[in-house]
Subunit: 297 residues, 2 copies
């Protein structure tokens, strides 16, 4: 079974205005990540716009990515959906197709209780047999996962890991310690929020679920490797070098920035799904300048 550690790179899912996935462009993105030797590909994450795509298109994207990645890199795939039965269908699709694990966020419209999230995750893990990484993304789900709830979730059969937002530097060690105390040995704790990831890795986070790595895997791998060998000074130096990218992510959202960057780099010409708009020309020029200045791509 795939061990959910290291750098997990989250590409966008290039698609037409009507939501038809451009599988050739997606293969190109996944192939770059495999060649860069990331530890896993996080397909159809929030960056991959999973909630905006139909079940059929998500399956097409997964089949293409798995075929491209075959034998080179494991593929995690977002299986979140508003309805429990829909998330279970997606997890069964992913299990049948050969995904390494499913990323399951507590997507909601009506705000959910802890018990509702617990039963949702249990139904999906139990009914699919797919290893599940619980996907804590309060910026999109607006659900706050306490250490106590993560402790309950982490004891469900098949729930093997969590992707949690990394706290700012001053709080990250305490936050990871609180989560670690709540989960059993062997349960993998990983972090999102790229601009806090270096400190999270240095504080013991076992995986970096990265938007930036979906387009720029090499500088992210360099940060990961420095952190893993305990070289905090080098990890922080490499992270600081990416500060202009992090500033764009924070100001305009990482999703909108990586769509623009993929286009600037000539990797694909996709736009995010409406109502999400492409960045205005002036901001796009800022993205192009940062990509150029940092030697990204």
């Amino acid at each position: 079974m795939t061990d959910l550690t290291g750098l997990s790179a989250f590409p966008i899912t290039p698609a037409s205005a009507s939501g038809v996935v451009d599988v050739a462009a997606l293969r190109g993105l996944v192939g770059r990540l495999a060649a860069a030797k990331v530890d896993s590909v996080g397909l159809l994450g929030s960056t991959g716009s999973y909630p905006y795509l139909t079940r059929d298109e998500r399956r097409r994207a997964l089949d293409a990515a798995l075929d491209e990645a075959a034998g080179r890199v494991p593929v995690l795939v977002g299986v979140g959906a508003l309805r429990t039965d829909a998330a279970l269908d997606l997890a069964r699709d992913a299990q049948a197709a050969g995904a390494a694990a499913g990323l399951l966020a507590p997507v909601s419209y009506t705000p959910l209780s802890d018990d509702e999230v617990f039963e949702h995750v249990r139904a999906v893990a139990d009914g699919s047999g797919l290893p599940i990484c619980f996907y804590d993304n309060p910026g999109t789900t607006h659900f706050a996962v306490s250490p106590a709830l993560l402790g309950r979730l982490s004891r469900l059969p098949g729930v093997v890991a969590a992707k949690s937002p990394a706290a700012p530097a001053a709080e990250v060690a305490g936050r990871i310690a609180a989560l670690r105390a709540a989960v059993p040995d062997g349960f993998r704790l990983g972090s999102s929020v790229d601009w806090h990831a270096a400190e999270a890795l240095l504080a013991g986070s076992e995986a970096w679920y990265s938007v930036a790595a979906g387009l720029f895997p090499r500088p992210c791998l360099a940060i990961l490797r420095a952190a893993r060998r305990g070289d905090g000074a080098e990890a922080r130096r490499l992270d600081a070098a990416l500060a202009p990218l992090w500033a764009l992510f924070r100001a305009h959202s990482s999703l909108r920035v990586v769509y623009a960057a993929a286009d600037i780099l000539g990797l694909c010409r996709a736009e995010p799904p409406r109502p999400i708009l492409p960045l205005p020309a002036a901001v796009r020029a800022d993205v192009a300048a940062v990509v150029e200045r940092l030697g990204l791509g």
Copy 2:
């Protein structure tokens, strides 16, 4: 064209565990509301679980409700969706079926900017020809609508009204005045949040978009009528009599409470869509006691 004023009653949408609408049960709920002479039925609102149902099921629900309501009460219908093209399809379905207006909430996963919400609403209103009531429901969409944005939206052709959450009593007059100052004459401002609705009506809100009225139209109509004739003392007395119901709504969410109440009253046996769970037995007993004590149903 329907004037969006008065009491708009929001029923649940009874459906099977797999999301197939029970059109006979829905007709029963809509028929009760028509007989009670509410000013409109708010079909497939948040209480009607619209985001949890497919386009086909939403169309089945609308056709059944319109047929039941024909000539008796106008039907507003939720047309919100995560994708702009999906919301436009739903609005076109609603226009073709004969709905009086569409309720359009800025549903999101990736948080949206003001410009993105504006373009989303413009595309749906312009492309469908359906009169649109902008549906400001920050508890589910997590999008905060400023008076300035509502002012822009209210000037879009086809956007005729807004449903906004009523502020607590101390703030409601100021909030409504701020919205009123931002929108053109004739644009209809209405309120949700049942436990603040009486004060909102007394402060000049022109419509009450009500969860409670979806099951209990008569006591809500009595509040509306007292407020309309300027009898604040009577409106407040009637509102205070419903305080035990409002307490249940606040503690357990109005959605979960009205599902339980519909079952207790023998109107339908539906449960909310999973992951939303039915209320536990002890809370259900509290709901039954309040329904009995207040003489609801």
